[in-house]
């Protein structure tokens, strides 16, 4: 996969996590889901078309998968995205 394709797949996982969090009816799902939306914006400043990937079992698993992909292409990731990703990973355990 090219770095752009990897980023598109990572974006797909982040979008899945957002969808799962906002739709889970948990009280904290709203704030964490909005944080995921912020992460999506930080990862995609050039309006890249995201990949549509199969959803993982939980938002944490989706973000974990996205994190692993992003670690492979650090030069394509905005530095501001890392603290948001770390905060989300910590919140979701």
């Amino acid at each position: 996969m090219t770095p752009a394709e990897t980023l598109a797949v990572a974006l797909g996982h982040v979008r899945n996590a957002t969808w799962q969090l906002l739709g889970n009816n948990q009280p904290d799902g709203l704030t964490v889901g909005l944080e995921c939306l912020v992460l999506e914006a930080l990862l995609n400043p050039d309006d890249l078309k995201p990949a549509v990937v199969e959803a993982e079992t939980s938002p944490a698993a989706s973000l974990s998968k996205a994190g692993r992909l992003l670690e492979a292409i650090p030069e394509h990731v905005a530095p501001a995205a890392w603290p948001v990703m770390a905060s989300l990973t910590q919140t979701l355990g």
Binding site: G12, R15, L22, L30, G33, L34, L37, E40, V52
Partner: protein, 420 residues
């Protein structure tokens, strides 16, 4: 930022601390002071949403304040009285807020009664000031040709007296929550104004509307509803709000659910584009909502007041996107019946994937609006005052007497006794 309530308190403070009428203030100083005060009073009153045509409703005020505002034909060289200048400045600030509010097509909850209550506050201060000026001028021996200002002030005192008879406790209006709308205000208010202004621009421009923006706006509206709900629940718990405001809290709870549903876009649906400015303001607003939620009910109402136009614009834009099939869908998610669509394509005419989000946004707007109106109306409700002792008079049916005992005269209670 200062609300109308703060400015009105300043206006009343200035009007009640004018001191005894001072003969040292000459007629010209009074006239020079009354010109801006009358101008700003007319501007404020004309922009109150009283419900009728301002030129007809305020005909009496126009007839008296108009000549005072215009002043004499020849220019005045005297300096205006400082008290009157301060009052004009404060009245000007109030009228600025009212003009800004009038331009935004105020909702029905602001029209009529609430406007009249605020008018009472403004005109009672004008009444006191006119009486003070008149008192000072009465002590001066003015030539017969220069008494028109006195006549106008006398008219103004008579015209505004009914307003001054209303006790301040009966003049509390929800319009007093209005404030100067500026994104430079500190804290949540400034962040909310900046976000709302940018959001309205994004939603109004076809090429700046993206799926990210639609999701983030709906999500923020859910977060705003959630924050307002918590503030109201806390106020009810602390006894600061009557339990009658519970429907507002329930409506906000529904608003959170609806806006959250409107923000939950499936990953197979999108609308591309860049919204960098909105991203920064969105993060800023979310941070303020988390760290500095509204502390008073007035702040909560202001938050909802700013959010409502955004909600309305979101509903209109979402409706357009769905109706005109502007959204992009990931082809394979439509299934094999859709034919060969390998990647992102514009949504075909027979697909309406965004419809559920559009419906959720409509519900969110309705419930948010209901919460605002309920909160605006119920908070002003005071328990009805008991009627004076002995009123209404006890009413007993007339006793039936035999025909021979009937008294043909008028009843004593109706008029003078005929035997008197």
């Amino acid at each position: 930022m200062a609300t109308i309530a703060d400015l009105l308190a300043r206006l009343e403070r200035l009007a009640t601390t004018l001191g005894p009428p001072d003969e040292a203030n000459r007629l010209e100083s009074h006239v020079a002071g009354w010109m801006p005060l009358a101008q700003q009073t007319l501007r404020a009153v004309s922009n109150l949403p009283t419900g009728g045509r301002p030129e007809r409703v305020n005909a009496g005020l126009l007839a008296v304040l108009g000549p005072l505002a215009r002043g004499p034909r020849r220019p005045i060289e005297a300096r205006p009285i400082e008290h009157l200048s301060d009052l004009a400045l404060t009245m000007g600030a109030i009228s600025d807020v009212l003009v800004e509010h009038a331009g935004r097509n105020p909702g029905p909850e602001f029209v009529g009664r609430e406007a009249t209550k605020l008018e009472a506050g403004l005109l009672s201060a004008v009444h006191l000031t006119a009486g003070w000026s008149l008192g000072g001028l009465e002590r001066q021996n003015l030539p017969g040709t220069r008494v028109s200002t006195k006549r106008l002030l006398r008219d103004l005192v008579a015209l505004t007296e009914p307003w001054a008879l209303i006790p301040p406790v009966n003049r509390g209006s929800i319009l007093q929550d209005l404030r100067v709308r500026t994104n430079t205000a500190p804290g949540l208010e400034g962040a909310m104004v900046a976000w709302a202004d940018e959001t309205l621009l994004v939603l109004g421009e076809r090429h700046r509307t993206t799926s990210w923006a639609m999701q983030a706006i709906a999500g923020n509206l859910a977060l705003i509803s959630h924050t307002a709900h918590n503030a109201i629940e806390q106020a009810i718990k602390n006894g600061g709000l009557p339990a009658a405001t519970r429907p507002a809290s329930e409506a906000l709870e529904s608003s959170v659910t609806a806006w959250r549903a409107a923000a939950t876009w499936p990953p197979c649906l999108r609308l591309g584009g860049a919204t960098t400015g909105l991203q920064v303001l969105t993060r800023d607003l979310q941070q303020h909502l988390r760290e500095a939620p509204p502390r008073t009910i007035a702040d909560t109402r202001n938050l909802l007041h700013l959010a409502l136009p955004v909600a309305e614009a979101h509903v209109a834009t979402m409706d357009r996107l769905v109706r005109t099939h502007d959204l992009w869908i990931h082809g394979p998610s439509l299934g094999p019946s859709a034919g060969y669509m390998p990647s992102w394509e514009r949504e075909p005419w027979w697909s309406h994937q965004g419809l559920s989000m559009a419906k959720a946004a409509q519900l969110g707007h309705r419930t948010l609006s209901k919460a605002f109106v309920t909160l605006a109306v119920d908070i002003e409700q005071t328990p009805p005052k008991p009627l004076p002792l002995g009123w209404p008079p006890a009413c007993s049916p007339p006793a039936r007497r035999p025909p021979g005992e009937r008294i043909p005269e008028r009843h004593l209670a109706i008029g003078p006794d005929t035997t008197r």
